[in-house]
């Protein structure tokens, strides 16, 4: 059997080339794998959801009630045995995908793994994170309950506030002013076909390039096998560990998904005249917090184009993200980075990363200004000055704990 296939597909060559790739061993490398496995979980659970979901907001008769078809079909999914768990797992896996991708990015930043030759993979990674957020956003609206429909509406308005492009984007993604009867079918196609294809292709490229460039290695490998990649082969060693990770991931996720339904549509009901008080999903809270800090009086007109406070609130974070894309290109270097850099030996970079984290936390807190009774002035102070203070403190602490060593051997 194997030889039959081998003669035709040259399996043993593939084995030698790909399956014997060496994986350096360190637990921080698992963050990327957790991201991949949450994508895999999303695809697997998504298959089940997609064959039961009806992408339409036409009213259908369910019992005595008139309900949008999308909402009714999600109700049907929830009524299937294990259906609610699968839907909940899909929802949680989407959140975990974004959380894991973000933490993976922080790990790359802290260990300097974005440097030459891995700049391209850094950019692909950021693209992946952006597409993942888009996929999560488009998927959010599909059950069409009062909560998600309102939250999507807010998202639509923010997208529509983009000068010149806004209307065009609204037409492209929402089929007009959300919600029209075209909105849900269009969002469904984007969410179920195009975004998974794009994300899948980008993950493929991400992994292939990683295979080409090899992992960064722990420093001790320099002593054991300098100039080489020291590791365990993908097959069978690393694959087995990955199997363990996938099983643990699915196990933990299924338990949490079963116990906590992330989107109980019965509780919110179909969209009605009374709009619930909503907040956007948690990965948008920092943007939303930023939006809350911008006074409604901030607007201006450029070349006859109205620029409102919503767009200003989006513009500043977008510039930050664009800077993130360009970031590794701003540090040209002659040598290739082969070994992980210790965060403690690069206190400036580490402190900056901690500052960026503080910025995200502070602007997320800003989204809760009403609940925490914080004034706008205090928010500006918190979001702009807080991260700087935290970064400086982190720098001083790092310097105090890890005094600069001459000719540090670094292990």
């Amino acid at each position: 059997m194997f030889s039959w296939l081998d003669e035709r597909l040259a399996l043993s060559r593939m084995y030698k080339k790909f399956f014997r790739k060496m994986f350096p061993v360190h637990h921080s490398f698992f963050l990327g794998e957790i991201t991949i496995f949450s994508f895999l979980t999303l695809v697997l659970t998504g298959v089940f959801l997609s064959i039961n979901f009806e992408p339409s907001i036409r009213m259908v008769q369910v019992g005595t009630k008139q309900l949008p078809a999308a909402y009714a079909s999600v109700q049907f999914i929830d009524s299937l045995p294990f259906g609610m768990v699968i839907r909940s797992m899909h929802h949680w896996a989407a959140s975990v995908f974004i959380a894991a991708a973000f933490l993976h990015m922080i790990r790359i930043l802290l260990t300097g793994a974005y440097k030459k030759p891995r700049e391209i993979n850094w950019i692909i990674g950021l693209l992946l994170l952006s597409f993942a957020v888009m996929a999560a956003f488009t998927g959010y609206s599909l059950p069409f309950d009062a909560f998600s429909a309102t939250a999507t509406k807010v998202g639509y308005e923010i997208a529509a506030s983009i000068p010149v492009l806004g209307t065009w984007l609204g037409q492209l993604f929402f089929g007009g002013t959300f919600p029209t009867e075209h909105s849900i079918p269009r969002l469904t196609a984007i969410h179920m076909i195009w975004l998974p294809l794009i994300i899948g292709a980008l993950i493929g490229a991400h992994v292939l390039i990683m295979f080409l460039q090899k992992h960064t290695q722990p420093k001790y490998a320099e002593k054991v096998a300098p100039g080489k990649i020291l590791g365990v082969p993908f097959w069978p060693q690393q694959a087995l560990i990955m199997g363990v990770l996938f099983a643990v991931f699915v196990g933990v996720l299924a338990m949490v998904a079963g116990l906590f339904n992330a989107n109980p549509i019965e509780h919110f009901g179909p969209p009605g005249p009374a709009t619930p008080t909503v907040k956007p999903d948690w990965y948008f809270l920092w943007l939303y917090g930023f939006l809350k800090m911008i006074p409604s009086s901030w607007h201006f007109t450029v070349f006859g184009v109205y620029v409102g406070p919503e767009f200003i609130g989006v513009l500043i974070p977008s510039l930050l993200i664009l800077f993130g894309f360009a970031f590794p290109l701003l540090q040209p270097s002659k040598t290739k980075l082969r070994y992980l850099e210790l965060p403690s030996e690069h206190p400036v970079r580490t402190a900056t990363v901690i500052g960026v984290l503080a910025f995200f936390i502070a602007s997320t807190i800003a989204a809760y200004n009403a609940e925490l009774s914080l004034s706008t002035g205090f928010l500006w102070f918190l979001v702009l000055l807080g991260p700087v203070v935290v970064a400086v403190l982190a720098y001083l602490l790092l310097r105090a704990i890890y005094p600069r060593r001459e000719g540090a051997s670094g292990d």
Binding site: K223, G227, P295, S296, S297, T335, E371, L374, S375, T376
Partner: protein
């Protein structure tokens, strides 16, 4: 490589070892133990094979071929010259020669156990303290009460409830509080807490203070007299299954000495800003004081820092200082002939759909949700109707409203809370929003 000789004819007399396809043997062993050393350091990396030929006493030969791989762990690393690089001039190249790998590197010392424990306790304890002890939360979070009974104050019997206060309180509650806290006292959590079963109410003084001074999204009510405070407090403490006892006018006056005792509310019809510092009677007093002054900019330093006052007057501080500036506009606007039924219908719609953002008192939650009280932008009736119908920014559209409903809401927001921009007729609304249902 050892072969136990069992019989004499089978006895091994010689072992020849060949490497790869080299013709000459690398090793010939003639006597036991048949052991030899193969030095792989001179071999290239990759596939090799070892051919072992066994020759026994009768001259028979048997061969075995053992394929193997050579990997050299120790190598040199070259830095500064990439393979395939084009160079000229003098190039600095670092060659790193490693020390021979130790069999086992020395175990580095990890952090001591007490540090693990300390950090764990600090992290988890810090979070607990933040949620349980920090004032904003301990103020907001009452321990979950048992069905809203008087369980929280068993030692002192609940004070008697004055029926007149309760009745008057219901009216005040319906007009000023029900939009957020709902007529059923369920509120709209998490922003607007439920009052039914809320044990925060067991503290009469704190309840009165919260009504008068506000906190966070809860607006302050500086126009309330001590009597009105007592009425509302009595009502919310003794309705929907609550039984925390009555609040007398004297109690309310003691809790909030700055509230007027006369019962005549100050003239400001528009609701003042939510006090952003959430705070003591002194700051509430100063806020109340400055609302009677006619400074065009914000009232207290904290609110003026928070919200730069704009000419549109769409901010909280603007709203509190607005009555003086909108008064002339109100006089000039055609304010006559507002139908009571229209206002009532508008109020109902407003309470159902608008209050969660713009608040029952029209103060909004600036800067995200602009104040409607004293907002000069309302003077344009067409724009108001269009904004309600089409939405804009985070303001949702209301395509389900018909022309009459649009006119009702527009009339209501233009003529409440001290606004006097005049009524909007159904015909005007139809012109402004031609797509709305008749």
């Amino acid at each position: 490589m050892t072969e136990p000789g069992s019989s004499s004819s089978d006895r091994v007399v010689r072992i020849e070892v060949f490497l790869d396809d080299r013709p000459e043997a690398v090793q010939i062993v003639t006597a036991p133990p048949f052991r030899f050393q193969l030095d792989t350091t001179g071999l290239d990396e990759g596939a090799h094979s070892l051919r072992v030929v066994r020759i026994d006493a009768s001259g028979g030969r048997r061969e075995r071929r053992i394929p193997f791989h050579v990997e050299h762990a120790s190598d040199v690393e070259v830095r500064g010259l990439e393979p395939g690089a084009t160079v000229s001039g003098s190039v600095e190249v670092d060659v790193v020669v490693p020390p021979p790998p130790a069999a086992s590197l020395p175990k580095p010392k990890g952090p001591p156990t007490w540090l693990y424990l300390l950090m764990t306790v600090l992290i988890l304890g810090g979070i607990w303290v933040f949620f349980m002890v920090v004032p904003i939360y301990s103020n907001l979070v009452p321990a979950p009460s048992e069905g809203g009974s008087t369980a929280s104050a068993p030692s002192t019997p609940a004070p008697p409830v004055d029926a007149a206060l309760l009745k008057a309180g219901e009216q005040l509650y319906t007009s000023d509080c029900a939009a957020c806290h709902k007529p059923s006292g369920e509120g709209m959590p998490p922003t607007f807490p439920a009052l039914a079963g809320n044990s925060f109410l067991s503290d009469a003084t704190a309840t009165v203070k919260r009504i008068y001074e506000g906190s966070g999204a809860m607006p302050s009510h500086p126009s309330y007299s001590a009597k009105m405070l007592a009425e509302v407090a009595t009502y919310i403490r003794n309705t929907w299954g609550n039984a925390y006892g009555g609040v007398s006018v004297a109690d309310a006056a003691a809790a909030e000495p700055s509230a007027s005792n006369t019962g005549a509310a100050p003239a400001s019809g528009s609701a003042p800003a939510a006090s952003s510092t959430g705070s003591s009677g002194a700051s509430a007093g100063s806020a109340a004081g400055s609302s009677s002054e006619t400074t065009p900019s914000g009232s207290t330093s904290s609110t003026s820092a928070a919200t730069p006052s704009s000419s549109a007057g769409s901010t909280a501080s603007g709203a509190s200082a607005q009555p003086s500036t909108t008064a002339p506009a109100a006089a000039a606007a055609p304010s006559g002939g507002i139908d009571k039924a229209t206002m009532d219908a508008g109020e109902q719609l407003y309470e159902a759909q608008c209050t969660s953002c713009h608040q029952a008192n029209g103060a909004g939650l600036p800067p995200t949700f602009p104040a409607l009280a004293g907002n000069a932008a309302l003077s344009d009736a067409t724009a108001v109707v269009q904004r309600i119908f089409d939405g804009k920014g985070i303001m949702p559209a209301h395509k389900t409203l018909n022309v009459q409903q649009l006119a009702d809401v527009a009339t209501y927001v233009r003529n409440s809370w001290g606004n006097a921009f005049g009524p909007v007729t159904a015909e005007q609304a139809a012109q402004a929003a031609p797509k709305a249902a008749q």
